[in-house]
């Protein structure tokens, strides 16, 4: 029951994200757009390219959807409103999101098209860049909560949200979250102006619909992740807990979708350089900082 409810909420969130994304890219707010798009895509032919790696081609979009859903499964929307409260929750989020890279690499390799292939390999490089900035800030969050249970992580923020407690970790994690969802300015694997759609270029019809849905669910998942780990999850006065999670997540999602509108796409070279030369040292400093603060608080 809870599972069905959460999945419905996720889908509703994905719909909102699709509307917001349309707004962010075209500057037009069209609440009915995504549903029309979806129906129209169903009616189009779904082409399979010649000499494609059929398994990779088919699995790519599905795996993207699954990895986003699995990551969302361990995130609480409210006390008790969670699909599975795993003891390894925070780690599991990270593990499930690793498959985003696998899915995109498959989607890039599958169709045997040059733009897609460059896009797929680009994303592997992107993962090498952002991956540490998912893991390290999460560690600092877990240190404070003394647990990997995502519900405990929310509860640990009762006195002060992590966004204030460890702002550096928040910024790094937010950037990494953008990179996971390959949203602008980190849209290297799809890069419309550089690769004409990249990993998504060869998907048409129903397969494209699944790919776009998966991407929207991924954005929702990452928005909820940021909310749960840094924005105090369901914590907040007056409104019911689930409303707080949803409201905060929507705000985070909107920020994720709009920030790239005003910035040029990051060059791959810089993406890796900045994440490694500045991101990782800062993330380690963040761990140290959190460690010291916790010692001081505890003693």
């Amino acid at each position: 029951m809870t599972t069905a409810m959460i999945i419905l909420v996720l889908l509703a969130g994905a719909y909102a994200v699709a509307v917001l994304e349309g707004w962010a890219t075209n500057g037009r707010f069209q609440p009915a757009g995504p549903v029309l798009d979806a129906v129209a895509m169903l009616g189009r032919e779904s082409v399979v390219t010649r000499s494609s790696d059929r398994i990779f081609f088919e699995v790519g979009p599905v795996l993207l959807l699954i990895s986003a859903l699995l990551a969302a499964a361990v995130l609480p929307l409210a006390p008790g409103l969670i699909i599975t409260d795993l003891a390894t929750g925070a780690l599991f989020v990270n593990a499930a999101l690793a498959y985003v890279m696998v899915a995109l690499l498959m989607a890039g390799w599958g169709p045997d098209g040059v733009y897609a292939m460059v896009g797929g390999w680009r994303f592997l490089g992107q993962l090498v860049g952002y991956s540490m900035l998912i893991v390290m800030p999460l560690t600092a969050v877990a240190m404070r909560a003394e647990s990997l249970f995502t519900t405990r992580i929310v509860e640990s923020q009762g006195a002060m949200w992590n966004v204030i407690f460890q702002p550096m970790g928040f910024i790094l994690f937010f950037l990494a979250a953008l990179a996971v969802c390959f949203l602008p300015p980190f849209d290297l694997p799809t890069a419309p102006g550089e690769l004409a759609g990249g990993v998504m270029a060869e998907y048409t019809g129903a397969r494209l619909a699944i790919m776009r849905l998966a991407r929207a669910v991924l954005v929702v998942t990452l928005a909820v992740t940021v909310t749960v780990f840094y924005m105090g999850g369901w914590l907040g006065p007056v409104l019911p807990p689930w409303a707080w999670t949803l409201g905060k997540s929507l705000l985070v999602a909107a920020a994720m979708l709009f920030v790239g509108r005003f910035i040029p796409r990051i060059r791959e070279e810089h993406l890796l350089q900045w994440f490694w030369k500045f991101g990782i040292p800062l993330a380690l400093l963040n761990i140290l900082y959190v460690g010291i603060v916790l010692l001081v608080v505890d003693s």
């Binding site: 599972t3 169903l42 009616g43 032919e45 779904s46 082409v47 399979v48 390219t49 010649r50 979009p61 599905v62 959807l65 699954i66 859903l69 699995l70 499964a73 699909i83 599975t84 409260d85 795993l86 003891a87 390799w109 045997d112 098209g113 040059v114 897609a116 292939m117 490089g125 090498v128 991956s131 540490m132 893991v135 390290m136 560690t139 877990a142 240190m143 003394e146 990997l148 004409a196 270029a201 060869e202 129903a206 397969r207 619909a209 699944i210 791959e268 070279e269 890796l272 350089q273 490694w276 030369k277 990782i280 040292p281 380690l284 140290l288 460690g291 010291i292 916790l294 010692l295 505890d298």
Partner: protein, 121 residues
Amino acid sequence: MSALQQYALLFGMVVGAVGFVLSVYGIARSLGKTRQEPGKDVPATSGKLSRDPVWARYHVRYYGYALLFLAFDMEMAYMYPWAVVYREVGLKALLDMGVFLGILYLGLLYGWSQGAFRRQR
């Protein structure tokens, strides 16, 4: 819920997602078949018909990062259990991990000095 049940539920979600996708494909399929026409199954490359296959030994330029990434990724596996017991153990944990991370960070600096952090030409 026991851990086993939790994982069964997650597995159920995977199966459910696959089922959902298949049923979407089924609905789409009910609207008609994809017509096989000349040129349609060739990957679209901006108006030029490029039938050559592109699968090749791909030259990634970020292998310097990728090697260091392996070291860091392994290291993170130790960080999670440490993070959970950190407050319990206290200062000792900070020092232990500090030494460990310090050594790792030296590795990062070494890689940096050797030019791992650039695009390989």
